[in-house]
């Protein structure tokens, strides 16, 4: 599957762009670069010239209930970015694009699928000594008309996960091995990952999210390496419905991206309720090795 345009052989190579591609497209008016980080200080300390910040708390989450922004909120966000429905949104960020993939996933809930991840993220851009700016980006506010958020295709809710477990469906737990096993790695008096119970959802395969990434430069591993990791080692079938989860759905958005766009899994959902919902819910089954 690999060729000059797709050297790593991905199923949907357009979902990834290189740092070089971004550098060459800084003045492309159809490309909007978005930085999304866990660390709230990083963007303001220096970002890709012209890049906007999308903060997961302020921009993507509902301020009151545990949910994402609604259609009006998304339209307002896209207007701030100067985006149209044709705009190509390129996400990057810290932690090997963990939060960038999360933002990518939320944008897909609103049907904005012309999105890519900058492979290697913020750290690769910096390590290549590419330019950074502290200037606020400018955009003419646009008029963006979004559809209602559609959670049905890529987002899983608790009851769906329960049914999936009963059918012995494929689940990927992307947390650390210690979180998966239920070992208490936290400090005294601190609830384990914000949940009352530890362990994992029955039947889940443990594949920590960062295993999809080359540790030396933060880029995604090749198709063949990812296939070895998920399909050969864990026996996950790309044709079978698959649900990924972590603690609150951010790390699992990274795995969702790798499974769906890089490996081409046909039906992958992110269970954003994840362990903070499952491990706190009364009566739900939990497995410990």
């Amino acid at each position: 599957m690999s060729n000059d345009n797709n050297p790593k052989g991905y199923a949907h190579p357009q979902a990834l762009v290189s740092t070089g591609w971004v550098a060459a497209n800084l003045d492309n008016s159809n490309v909007i670069i978005v930085e999304s980080n866990e660390d709230p200080l990083l963007y303001s300390s220096g970002h890709i010239p012209g890049a906007f910040e999308v903060d997961w708390t302020l921009d993507l989450n509902d301020p009151l209930i545990r949910d994402y922004l609604d259609r009006t909120g998304f339209e307002k966000l896209m207007s701030r970015l100067g985006a149209t429905t044709d705009s190509h949104i390129v996400f990057y960020g810290d932690k090997n694009n963990w939060w960038a993939c999360y933002a990518f996933w939320v944008f897909h809930l609103f049907g904005h699928t012309n999105c890519s991840i900058m492979d290697g993220g913020r750290l690769k851009w910096i390590n290549e000594q590419r330019p950074l700016s502290t200037d606020a980006p400018f955009a003419n506010h646009s008029t963006y008309t979004a559809p209602e958020r559609d959670d049905s295709h890529i987002r899983a809710f608790r009851d769906e996960v329960i049914a999936h477990v009963k059918k012995q469906g494929q689940l990927v737990d992307v947390r650390s091995p210690e979180e998966f096993s239920g070992a208490r790695t936290h400090m005294a008096d601190y609830p384990n990952e914000g949940a009352l119970r530890s362990g994992h959802i029955p039947g889940a395969k443990s594949v920590p999210w960062a295993k999809a990434v080359n540790p030396e430069d933060g880029t995604f591993k090749s198709f063949s390496e990812l296939a070895e990791l998920y399909q050969t080692t864990q026996n996950l079938n790309p044709s079978e419905p698959t649900i990924a989860y972590c603690r609150i759905g951010e790390r699992s958005a990274h795995t969702w991206f790798a499974l769906k766009y890089l490996l081409g899994f046909e039906n992958v959902k992110n269970y954003d309720g994840s362990w903070t919902e499952w491990g706190n819910s009364v009566g739900l089954p939990i497995e410990k090795p």
Binding site: E38, D39, P40, L41, L42, S44, S45, D55, W56, T57, L58, D94, K95, R122, L123, I126, T185, H186, M187, Y190, G194, R247, I248, E250, T276
Partner: protein, 140 residues
């Protein structure tokens, strides 16, 4: 009970800043003023702050005046929030008697960064505060 004076002054000042960008800039400046100690790798696992993805290590000893000699390594050039928290703790506790650490509590993270931290980031920074406090109070 107020925090040690430099910390109390910092959180009172930052609480007056309504503009998020301005508040972030104050924290960036705090993080950039952090000077890493010259400690060679590998760092001992027992000194690592649990739950802190930035890989933070702390050492707390007494100097010849029986006051605190705190060393903090943030083993991640992108760990700016951890550097800011580390610098704030150093400004409040370095070269002071260990018992002063009694004035530190976990609310310091929220008072410094506001409510917009992720759960993981908040946990990591809180554990940094806890670890420094625990290591200091062992010497009191």
């Amino acid at each position: 009970m107020p925090y040690p004076e430099p910390i109390q002054e910092f959180i009172e000042n930052i609480a007056l800043i309504d503009d998020r960008a301005e508040r972030v800039q104050v924290l960036i400046d705090m993080g950039k003023s952090f000077q890493p100690p010259a400690i060679e790798k590998p760092y001992p696992a027992e000194n690592r702050v649990p739950g802190c993805e930035s890989e933070v290590y702390t050492w707390v000893n007494l100097n010849t005046q029986s006051t605190l000699d705190i060393q903090i390594v943030v083993d991640n050039p992108q760990g700016l929030s951890a550097m800011a928290m580390a610098q704030l703790l150093l400004e409040g506790l370095q070269n002071h008697p260990p018992a002063l650490a009694n004035l530190i509590d976990e609310d310091l993270v929220a008072k410094t960064f506001g409510p917009e931290l992720s759960m993981g980031k908040s946990l990591g920074l809180t554990n940094l505060v806890r670890q420094i406090k625990a290591q200091a109070l062992k010497l009191a």
